[in-house]
Symmetry: C2
DNA sequence: TTAAACAAATAAAACGTTTTACCAAATGGT
DNA sequence: ACCATTTGGTAAAACGTTTTATTTGTTTAA
């Protein structure tokens, strides 16, 4: 009982009208009498007519699909993003096609090329170093693009992300306020502007609070390290420290590895080591005594991104004021930054 | 410097050949001489020709896109799935379009309808009660479909999921082995076959181990409850129990709520209450003393699903209807099911 | 030689829309 | 009564492919 898809032509035949008339009625375009309109709509309804998206895509050049290129669709941050983006896009009748780059440059390039086969009407991309040319080319070809979670310094491509610099700064201030002065940092060995901004905010805060910037207390975990190896590396790093009483993790992922390291070392939080991690997470809420985190405004970021993209798609010209959107994070204070008890 | 997309027609003009010839060469179809072939390929290459997927889709009826309909693309389980599915599909040149139903029936129906506008070549769907008719109709129209994480009892639609019954059974056995005899269960108030199977396995195991099936020790959290309310409800439930010494959570989500409840009540794990939760997770690994979990074989499920789907898409006359793939889970034993110390 | 087979290339139809340009009939103004 | 406008409707082109059927030479078989 396979029923062939019904087309606009069939409806025309069924109602004794022309293809044009049917198309006009269905799109509310031309001027067609009430009665004919009604008849056509009835027939369309009854037969479950759905336009062939390929055909309208071919004809109009609009696919009603937007491409989402993220680091890892499976990750908590990007997954949440993806969900919001989907929900918002759907309101305008757009569907989402996605792909994960896993921070692999070639994959990113490939994806952009694939999607640009006029398959998508716009892009939301988490940028990575090396992708500048490809993305620039999209923009030059007037494809709507919004970057999330990062940007290209010096390039006027609209982007929305958390205020990384200020957030890291705030983390340090939080430590200081609670009496911690020997503050270390664990970050990733990746050339990402987000991470650089966080590091910069961290260092600036140390300086402003009159703390010495001891680079021995900064550790960069190699990105390609397995989770287990990462934990060991962090353990060794912590072990090497003499005076460190607080540790800042620039990433969700690093934070949980760090927690495991600290647990394995049998250290007390915050007695032996106060902790703050970027990216809030169920773990950080649950894990005793509660880990203070910098909560990214995932929803706002995603919402803004899709809004800006839609504006470009619809208006076709972009409001420059929205080019650099840095959304404030929220510092969630928990037990891991309880005021220090001085012995 | 907007460069218009180059088409097959342009290449024909550029090489002084015909559209057909170019198409043949590009697809390796007809019989065209070496020299002309070479010339065409060169020109295509040089101008960065990419076929217009809309046109191809319209003509051939193949979109090279598959639709993924899950409960929540942002969730850990489905997110991981999505990633694997994407990676595997890409090997065959397929892209993924996704949407989250949030267990909303109408949304699921809408999505299936939207995607069936010949936009996608196949579907991977997490089924929900009420979607039977729509999915059946897809299958009847010879659209390749694979269900994941659930199935429709009595309907011959290929599906792949974890062996829920046996997994829950194993959880009970694990409790018993460690000396826990008064075992409760927290599940969700949702008509999902996965949950029913887990409950059934749980009950059967109780029976087989000669334990009485005390339905007072089973709690169903209303699905629409907020996280906070859920935690309170679970706290109350635990508070009502007199003899319960072990608790089984049928879901990741419930497990973390449960952990919070137990922590808030100040109970010791496993001293006061042993715990097992479905769906392994970073939290369960980290949270002291480590929570025993049933780890779903996410990778295998996703891989199998996409494999089965691809086989349907390619073979076209493959009878996959009888496929019932139940993949074994792995019980990860941690501190929360340490052998009971009898007072 | 001539018909038959074959090789290389192409014309044209089709996929299902949207949209421009046009037409016929009715209406209106003077 | 006559031109101008409006109203309701349609034919046909175009979007960029794939594919069938055909054409035009060139070999081969007899």
């Amino acid at each position: 009982m396979i029923k062939k898809k019904i087309s606009i032509k069939d409806i025309a035949k069924l109602t004794g009208t022309s293809i044009t008339t049917v198309s006009f009625v269905l799109n509310g375009k031309g001027r067609i009498s009430k009665e004919i309109s009604k008849k056509i709509l009835d027939v369309a309804q009854k037969n479950g007519y759905e336009p062939n998206r390929m055909a309208v895509g071919l004809r109009t050049g609009v696919s009603k699909v937007i491409g989402l290129i993220v680091e890892n669709i499976g990750g908590p941050f990007f997954g949440e993003m993806a969900k919001v983006i989907e929900e918002e896009a759907e309101k305008d009748g757009y569907r989402i096609i996605y792909c994960s780059t896993n921070n692999n440059l070639q994959k990113g390039k490939d994806m952009i090329r694939m999607l640009s086969q006029q398959l998508v009407d716009g892009y939301i991309i988490t940028p990575m170093k090396g992708l500048e040319k490809e993305i620039r080319s999209l923009v030059d070809n007037e494809k709507p693009v919004v970057l999330i979670d990062g940007y290209f310094p010096g390039m006027d491509i609209p982007h929305v992300l958390v205020n990384n610099y200020e957030s890291a700064y705030a983390a340090v201030s939080c430590f200081v306020k609670s009496g911690y002065k020997n503050i270390g940092m664990v970050t990733a060995n990746l050339e990402l502007v987000q991470l650089n901004d966080r590091s910069a905010g961290f260092k600036a805060a140390l300086k402003d609070h009159g703390l010495k910037d001891n680079s021995k207390m900064v550790f960069k975990v190699p990105y390609d390290m397995s989770k287990a190896d990462g934990v060991t590396a962090i353990k060794e790093f912590i072990g090497r420290q003499k005076r460190m009483d607080a540790l800042f993790f620039t990433t969700n992922y690093l934070g949980t590895m760090g927690l495991q390291a600290i647990r394995d070392l049998g250290l007390d939080i915050p007695g032996d080591l106060a902790v703050i991690s970027f990216d809030d997470n169920e773990i950080f809420n649950l894990y005793p005594p509660g880990i203070t985190t910098i909560q990214q405004p995932t929803y706002e970021i995603a919402k803004s991104a899709i809004d800006i993209l839609m504006e470009q798609i619809n208006n076709h010209k972009l409001d420059a004021s929205k080019i650099d959107l840095q959304i404030p994070s929220k510092l969630i204070e928990r037990g891991s930054t309880r005021a220090k008890v001085t012995a």
